[in-house]
């Protein structure tokens, strides 16, 4: 068995040699470069666009504005360049097209746009009277008012978090090529099948006329899940100009047209008995919406699914602002979860109950909103494993009780939890006449390890060595499969890959046992053992290699299978140590332990990397990451990586990842659940809780920057 083992990434070699071709690495003969011009007002109209200077740049083929851009509609997003209306700062107002990148960039700088601006609203604080409750955004369980009345202790606090931008290291890129009414697009996409549908709908051509490829994706984190308008415009330009066109976004452009995590405010009210039992949980949030969309992505799911509480009220309000439309971002539930897990820490101090113990007392294996039993939940094991590995029992709960030199040391913890998607998926497995195996499915590897895990799944199902299996992904010519978002890839697609491989196995075994030329002739199909590339009789006295069976057969054996999986919920517990320098208000995270119930772990190496990645995002969200909007212009003032700070190597300590590793019985993914988004959700709260433990200072506004600790 290779599933579960820490198998090295099968795409590792391609990625460490530069051999892996990403979208922006494609260069096609005759290809043009498109480059965007971004608007500089957030609200109002374009009154004139002067493209004369841009057109005069040698090599410039065309300059598109709202006056001459191809007419497009999108059923998903506001489509720029179709009129004069401006809805947010950094909206696309023109596109230059030239024979080299430098020419297109130079021309873009020479486009002159004149506006009739209006005063925008950029932040929730400026539109508090416009907060409203969109449809279907309220859930009430039991009687929250009565629950609060029955409480012996209550905590009510407000928490807030800023907008964030996904910032994958690979910028969004798109390369479009038409052949008559057939379109091929290399697209930085977390979902080639969805992308295919979007391109087909936009251009009014059959889906089968569109091929989308994204064999390697340099990170997405949610921001590359839809096809954004710039990709549709680039494809339209390629069609109009009759040449392939490539567009790669500049880093700064990624702060306005490819979405973000919405600014978020929340109020959490907890009612509890003196023993810590929750009697009521009221969680109201307000998140930023855009003028053109009501979508919201942080839904207080933790408040509805995590703890035993009979009376729950969640309410997700919105406020429309003159900013771009937000999207889910690793991990959507983080924002609302931060409020809940900080409030629980506050409650633990009010009650004088250890924060782990408080969570244990409110543990449930029944979904408190629906009353249904979870198919499996080992969260109590996570508390125990994590606390033991961290040494939590040695903690003196008194804030400010531990110093090391001039630094305050604090320990904090939080539960981690995220739901995961499961989308119907299909996969093909084919054993060639030489015994080698190919599996193809149109899901993606966005860095999480899909190539590797599916190689393991196929190898195990057939009983062949890993190096006999090749997996190909993210091409719409392959059987359709899940979007890689919402922790859904492994959970959605593994079952189909496994089923196809098992079907091929059965067919090949059948070929062997039914053929008098095989040493296995006459053995019943069910009794054959497959291992190491061989078929064995039950007592292993006779054997034949797959290679030999296939050589005799002389033709490939192939199967395509489909599977649906259940959605699920993966939980865990995270423990952190921080050191706070009181002179500078500087916080460093010096230790981290996470313990998780992700169902069955498919590959310990890649799963551990998901934990490290999530934990690091949690450090970033807690200590540095935030997008700053100028309130007068609704413009992002830090649209670059030197002022939008991500965690760097020196910010991240050793991180210990522990897995309960018990298969979820309802999972068709060999017992695995979706997991990628769980190990970040609790980290900002755990760090804030540790800062409180270190200093006695409770900060309720992310990120916990030095200014907030120094006041």
């Amino acid at each position: 068995m290779t599933v579960g083992r820490p198998v090295e990434r099968v795409d590792g070699r391609a990625k460490v040699t530069g051999g892996a071709r990403y979208t922006a690495d494609r260069t096609l003969p005759g290809m043009l470069y498109s480059y965007l011009v971004m608007g500089t007002i957030a609200r109002g109209r374009v009154t004139a666009v002067d493209t004369a200077a841009a057109r005069a740049v040698p090599g410039v083929v065309e300059v598109f504005t709202h006056e001459n851009a191809p007419r497009l509609t999108s059923d998903q997003h506001f489509m720029p360049l179709q009129g004069t209306q401006i809805h947010y700062n950094g909206q696309i107002v023109a596109i230059t097209v030239a024979t080299t990148l430098e020419q297109a960039q130079e021309a873009a700088e020479l486009v002159r746009v004149t506006y009739a601006p209006e005063t925008p609203k950029a932040v929730i604080a400026d539109a508090l009277t416009e907060v409203y409750l969109p449809a279907n955004q309220e859930v009430i369980v039991g009687d929250p008012t009565a629950g609060l009345a029955a409480a012996e202790v209550t905590v009510t606090q407000n928490y807030s978090s800023p907008p964030h931008h996904h910032n994958p290291i690979e910028p969004h890129a798109t390369v479009a090529q038409w052949d008559g009414d057939r379109l091929t697009v290399h697209e930085t996409s977390q979902g080639v099948v969805n992308a295919q549908r979007t391109f087909a709908t936009t251009f009014g051509i059959p889906q089968t006329n569109v091929r989308v490829l994204a064999p390697y994706l340099g990170g997405g984190f949610g921001g590359k899940s839809p096809v954004w308008p710039h990709s549709l415009l680039n494809a339209a330009i390629a069609r109009q100009l009759g040449r392939p066109a490539k567009m790669v976004l500049a880093r700064s452009q990624m702060y306005s047209i490819v979405s973000h995590r919405a600014e978020f405010r929340q109020q959490v009210t907890l009612g509890a008995k003196r023993d810590g039992t929750l009697t009521a949980l009221v969680h109201h949030s307000t998140q930023q919406l855009s003028r053109t969309s009501e979508n919201m992505y942080s839904h207080s799911i933790s408040s509805r699914m995590l703890y035993a509480c009979p009376n729950i009220h969640t309410r997700q309000q919105g406020v429309r602002l003159d900013v771009p439309t937000s999207r889910f971002m690793r991990s959507p539930q983080m924002a609302s979860h931060f409020g809940l897990e900080t409030a629980l820490d506050e409650l633990s101090y009010q009650l004088g109950i250890d924060p782990v113990e408080l969570r244990r007392r409110n543990y449930t294996d029944v979904n408190p909103t629906t009353g249904e039993r979870f198919s499996s939940r080992f969260l109590l094991d996570c508390y125990k494993l994590g606390a033991d590995a961290f040494g939590w029992s040695r903690r003196n709960p008194k804030p400010g009780s531990t110093r090391d030199g001039h630094e305050f040391v604090g320990w904090g913890m939080a539960t981690e939890a995220h739901d995961h998607n499961a989308n119907p998926s299909s996969a093909m497995v084919r054993m060639a006449a030489d015994g080698t195996v190919l599996s193809q499915t149109a899901t993606q590897d966005i860095g999480t390890g899909t190539y590797t895990v599916f190689t393991q799944v196929v190898a195990d199902a057939l009983g062949v060595p890993l190096n006999q299996v090749k997996v190909e992904l993210a091409d719409t010519n392959f059987p359709p499969a899940a979007l890689s978002a919402g922790s859904g890839t492994i959970a959605s697609v593994t079952g189909a890959v496994n089923a196809a491989a098992l079907a091929v196995r059965t067919a090949v075994v059948q070929l062997a046992v039914s053929n008098p030329a095989s040493p296995l002739h006459g053995v019943s199909v069910e009794r054959i053992i497959t291992q190491h590339g061989y078929l064995f009789s039950p007592d292993r006295s006779r054997r034949e290699s797959y290679r030999a069976v296939m050589a005799r057969h002389g033709a490939p054996v192939q199967n395509t299978s489909s599977m649906t999986n259940a959605r699920g919920y993966s939980t865990g517990a995270v423990f952190v140590e921080v050191r706070v320098d009181p002179r500078y208000g500087r916080v460093r995270v010096t230790r981290g332990v996470g313990a998780y119930d992700a169902g069955r772990v498919m590959n310990h190496k890649t799963a551990r990397s998901q934990v490290i990645g999530g934990f690091t995002w949690g450090i970033g969200n807690a200590l540095m990451e935030h997008t700053v909007l100028d309130r007068r212009t609704a413009r992002v003032v830090n649209p670059n990586l030197s002022t939008y700070l991500l965690a760097v190597n020196a910010d991240v300590p050793e991180i210990d990842a522990i897995f309960v590793n018990k298969p979820d019985p309802v999972s068709t993914a060999l017992g695995a659940r979706g997991f990628g988004e769980t190990p970040i959700t609790g980290v900002p709260a755990a760090i804030g809780n540790a800062i409180f433990h270190a200093t006695g200072r409770r900060i309720r506004d992310l990120p916990f920057t030095q200014d907030k600790l120094l006041y």
């Binding site: 460490v16 990403y22 200077a53 040698p58 002159r112 390697y216 990397s609 995002w617």
Partner: protein, 192 residues
């Protein structure tokens, strides 16, 4: 090729953003002088990359990064920001690590440029490439070539005496997937 070979450094360095400035007021049309400056002008140059001479004719404003990627099809070197902030474009010039987005191709003649494609010896990976795979120091791979080139230099500079020292000297290379502890482990492995 024309005689006009003015190095348009300003254009190069501003290239990360095409946001239009001064847009609330009507702006004058491009002056004739400005129009003249936009004449394209390629120059012949030779870049020595991974032990091979490449002759190419590109405008002087073309960065080393864009020359490698868009002209020489050496796309292993990645562009993450085009302004020196992410490290995805790190290459070695005479053994020193530099960000290839912050230098012009024309300025890098008569030097040895090493990119990620130049680390392999025949079929054999460089020890740091092997260590990256072994330690799972990569996920999406978008930052990985830059991390490895930077790591090779970090080792040759001798900045590997402790994990903390590696963390510090590798902090110019961002990894959004956040493989940092594994990158440190890989560099420690390869430095042995």
């Amino acid at each position: 090729m024309t005689a006009d070979s003015e190095y348009k450094r300003r254009t190069v360095l501003k290239a990360g953003s095409a946001a239009v400035t001064a847009t609330l007021v009507a702006t004058p049309a491009a002056t004739p002088a400005a129009a003249a400056q936009t004449d394209s002008s390629s120059v012949d140059m030779t870049l020595r990359v991974n032990g091979r001479d490449h002759r190419l004719a590109v405008e002087p404003r073309v960065t080393l990064l864009d020359a490698l990627r868009e002209r020489l099809d050496l796309t292993g070197t990645k562009k993450g920001c085009d302004r020196g902030e992410c490290g995805a474009c790190t290459v070695l010039v005479d053994g020193r690590r530099i960000k290839s987005c912050l230098t012009l191709a024309v300025m890098r003649q008569n030097v040895e440029i090493t990119t990620i494609e130049g680390l392999v010896r025949g079929d054999k990976l460089h020890p740091l490439q092997e260590a990256f795979i072994r330690q799972d120091a990569l996920q999406c791979g978008g930052c990985t070539p830059g991390q490895i080139m930077s790591g090779v230099a970090c080792i040759s500079e001798g900045h590997t005496r402790s994990a903390d020292e590696i963390r510090e000297w590798m902090s110019g290379n961002l990894c959004r997937c956040a493989c940092y502890p594994n990158i440190v482990a890989a560099i420690q492995d390869a430095a042995k």
